[in-house]
């Protein structure tokens, strides 16, 4: 069953934990509740705060939010029947097995014992965890633990899933497995995903939001976000690019000596010829979500917070 027609809306959502630094600052947006919505942001950008408010775990300081017309404050009971959440730092209880973990969670959600047992069996089989069902959680690998957590929320009837940084710390193969699962799930569920892996959002998301310092910088499909950046191509010169100038584009230099140039296709051609002649090491590719992200949050590529970063923009008209 596909969810139809609903929306998730935030209106001037603000959350203060400490004075002078809002965790969320007047966030307003609306997205349809189908497919995958990926919320991107660096550590501390406010992703988890937003997800916790929407999942009815945390009260906002001001503003409001609703899911499919249900207010997160007034209709929390109704929302809770329709959502399931995998928190960022969730850990499996070590003395339980995957079967016991999922079974207990289903009981907590109010299923009867027979129904819960039957759902556990289905979910374990569906996500290929049958062979681990009676292995104590403490003996499972990190990847299997994340899959068990994912299976735990999938075993429910919830059609709206909040998944907070599900692949953090996982190796690339396990991450790809989880991506495949999420891609399959989005056919029947709305998934609100937070991540700081730009590739993850690029591969999975139908809509992407970018959060920085508690504010929503941008929202749209990947193509819509591309249009936010005026240029279509990114040229990255690994070293010695400091003396380069572009006739059309924007240059970001970082303290490690690399230079990133966002530019037009014509200018990229000219730069390429020049760089080849100069025997410089460089890469050239269509602008990616990563580029858009750095462009929007105004941080140089190869960010290193320990070093002082130098940023200079040069845009010249031909």
């Amino acid at each position: 069953m596909r969810l139809m027609g609903g929306s998730l809306e935030c209106r001037n959502l603000t959350k203060w934990f400490v004075k002078d630094a809002p965790a969320l600052d007047d966030v307003s947006f609306s997205v349809g509740t189908n497919g995958i919505f990926a919320l991107l942001g660096r550590n501390g950008a406010g992703k988890t705060t937003l997800i916790r408010i929407l999942a009815t775990e945390l009260q906002p300081s001001s503003g409001s939010a609703s899911i499919n017309g249900m207010d997160v404050m007034k209709d929390a009971g109704k929302i809770r029947e329709q959502i399931a959440v995998m928190p960022q730092e969730a850990r499996l209880v070590p003395w339980l097995t995957p079967r016991q973990t999922i079974y207990s969670y289903l009981l907590y959600r109010g299923f009867g014992r027979k129904e819960a047992a039957s759902k556990v069996a289905d979910a374990l089989a569906k996500l290929g965890l049958g062979k681990y069902e009676n292995t104590p959680n403490r003996h499972l690998s990190g990847g299997v633990k994340r899959r068990v957590l994912m299976t735990t929320i999938l075993a429910t009837d919830a059609k709206i899933l909040f998944v907070d940084e599900p692949t953090t710390g996982l190796d690339p193969l396990i991450r790809a497995d989880l991506w495949a699962t999420l891609n399959e799930l989005k056919k029947t569920h709305f998934i609100f995903l937070t991540t700081h892996y730009l590739e993850e959002a690029e591969r999975l998301a139908d809509m992407i939001g970018i959060l920085e310092n508690g504010s929503l910088l941008s929202l749209g499909t990947l193509n819509q976000l591309r249009s936010v950046v005026k240029y279509q191509v990114s040229v990255r010169i690994l070293q010695g690019g400091a003396s380069f100038e572009t006739k059309a584009g924007e240059v970001i230099r970082s303290a490690d000596g690399s230079t990133q140039i966002f530019t037009t296709e014509e200018e990229a051609d000219r730069l390429t010829e020049h760089l080849v002649r100069e025997r410089k090491r460089f890469s050239i590719y269509p602008i990616s979500l990563e580029d858009i992200f750095y462009y929007l949050v105004r941080k140089p590529i190869e960010e290193d917070t320990q070093r002082s970063l130098v940023r200079r923009e040069e845009a010249h008209e031909d």
């Binding site: 969730a90 003395w95 959600r109």
Partner: protein, 247 residues
């Protein structure tokens, strides 16, 4: 979907007691032997004279430990496993979760309570009224300990704080309170100190009920009143301070 509240209560009993003792049998052993350490000590020192009082004391200790340990379990589930976040955002009700965790604490105490009850039947010869009174006191001291556990869990953010709470509570509830011996064993000069602990009132009522401590009716009434009042105050604080959705 119809929400089965009993299932929600049962889930906590499974996770925090049944599965724990089944998958970690060492916790079952620990649960059984924990109340016996002081009991054995008192029996040896008193040459067996304080048998009935110390069995009663061990029963009270089991009840108190259940509540005190509850704050560790609640904090563990919330802060370490983030399980409470998963439950808050689900149809689980706060009341079902709290009741379930309280029942789990009782279930954890059950192995020791069973052994101690057998000992009590064998060695304490209480009248039916006395036995009922003792049961009433146990229920009340358990309610008090559970309320205390819930209250402390709302303040605690990590395991180090939990440990500190346990140490302080052990002193207040089990060291300065005369639960394994009559209060008359405490020197008169410092006896008033014992009355700072709610466990003292529970112990006095229970010891009086089995005929080991004579108490006047007004004293008995004061003991009941204090115990009920302290439990009520704690429940009010819990109701006001605890929150299912974070503020």
């Amino acid at each position: 979907m119809k929400i089965n509240r009993l299932s929600q209560v049962y889930a906590s009993i499974l996770i925090d007691a049944v599965y724990q003792m089944k998958n970690y049998p060492i916790t079952l052993v620990s649960n059984v032997i924990a109340p016996f350490s002081v009991l054995v000590l008192i029996l040896l020192v008193s040459h067996g004279n304080l048998l009935s009082i110390s069995i009663e004391g061990a029963l009270i200790t089991s009840m108190i430990s259940g509540g005190v340990n509850l704050q560790i379990d609640l904090s563990h589930m919330k802060n370490d496993f983030k399980m409470q976040d998963m439950l808050v955002s689900s149809p689980t009700s706060a009341f079902a979760y709290m009741l379930g965790m309280a029942m789990a604490a009782l279930t954890n105490a059950l192995p020791a309570l069973t052994v101690l009850t057998v000992l009590a039947i064998l060695f304490i010869h209480a009248s039916p009224v006395g036995a009922l009174t003792v049961l009433g006191v146990f229920a009340l001291i358990f309610a008090f300990a559970v309320a205390l556990g819930f209250m402390l869990s709302t303040f605690s953010t990590d395991i180090q704080q939990n440990r500190a709470f346990v140490s302080i509570l052990t002193v207040i509830l089990a060291t300065i309170a005369p639960i394994y011996y009559p209060i008359t064993y405490i020197p008169a000069q410092i006896r008033d100190l014992a009355y700072l602990s709610p466990a003292t009132y529970a112990a006095e009522i229970a010891q009086n009920a089995i005929g080991d401590l004579p108490l006047s009716a007004p004293n008995l009434a004061v003991d009941w009143a204090v115990l009920v009042a302290v439990s009520c105050v704690l429940f009010v604080v819990v109701a006001k301070k605890s929150h299912w959705r974070d503020p």
